[in-house]
């Protein structure tokens, strides 16, 4: 299965997207795949050839991407990357915080 990584965003190919998944609303016509909480920088797909979905289970949100034609994901600090057609789960890199003794997702 295809593995892609754009900064702290992990894009993992999956066989299917859950039928109960809800389509995400575009922002100014663009898919915001992940938001930079401190910098305001976003991982964005502008193309209409992809849609993002989410499923919330026990308060935990899992996001998916369905890509019909090759699309480009962009970010202010990362080189653009092409995502081939397919279905993907979107996750975020995690790290371990030894001061708090807990794992946490990477934030930028």
């Amino acid at each position: 299965m295809r593995q892609l990584q754009h900064g702290d965003v992990l894009i993992k190919e999956v066989k299917s997207i859950p039928a109960k998944a809800t389509k995400c609303v575009r922002r100014e016509g663009k898919i915001v795949v992940a938001e930079g909480e401190a910098t305001g920088h976003h991982h964005v797909i502008a193309s209409k050839a992809a849609e993002m979905f989410f499923v919330t289970t026990d308060g935990h949100r899992v996001c998916y991407l369905e890509v019909i034609e090759p699309v480009t994901i962009t970010h202010e600090e990362h080189k653009p990357m092409t995502i081939p057609p397919g279905k993907y789960a979107v996750q975020q890199v995690r790290e371990y915080n030894y001061i708090l003794d807990m794992e946490q997702r990477v934030i930028d």
Binding site: H6, L10, T39, K79, P80, N97, I99, V106
Partner: protein
């Protein structure tokens, strides 16, 4: 301060990243390694590493393994009462000459295990065909 308004409010920035004022006003030699590792935001941490120097960060720990441009560094000497605190040192593929140093779980003993763990599962090989 990168920009300052007449009322005194302003922004402290490093290479386009908004920083805490003390990160700018404190000389690099006076910023401790644990201060860098305690910074929650990875972009700010990256800029702090650029400021204090990656070699100083690595010298504060002990290199466990080096592979494919990555270093697994045990930063336990920086912390109190923690016997093993692996961190993965990696070059930023998009921003030239910058590095990230991110903690990984204590069960990570190799660079690949650390990469896998960051990708969500220590037992699943994570090797993206595209990494930007």
């Amino acid at each position: 301060m990168a920009i300052k308004w007449p009322d005194g409010w302003g922004l402290y920035m490093m290479n386009g990243i908004k920083m805490k004022p003390e990160y700018i006003t404190t000389p690099a030699t006076e910023i401790s390694v644990d201060t860098v590792l305690a910074e929650r935001n990875v972009d700010q941490r990256r800029e702090l590493i650029r400021k204090v120097g990656v070699s100083r960060m690595v010298h504060a720990g002990k290199v466990v393994e080096e592979s494919n441009g990555y270093k697994l560094v045990d930063m336990a000497p920086v912390f109190t009462g923690i016997p093993y605190a692996p961190h993965l040192l990696m070059k930023n593929p998009s921003v030239p000459d910058t590095y990230h140093l991110e903690g990984v779980a204590p069960e990570c003993k190799t660079v690949q295990q650390a990469i896998n763990w960051r990708g969500g599962d220590i037992s699943i090989h994570w090797e993206p065909e595209s990494l930007n």
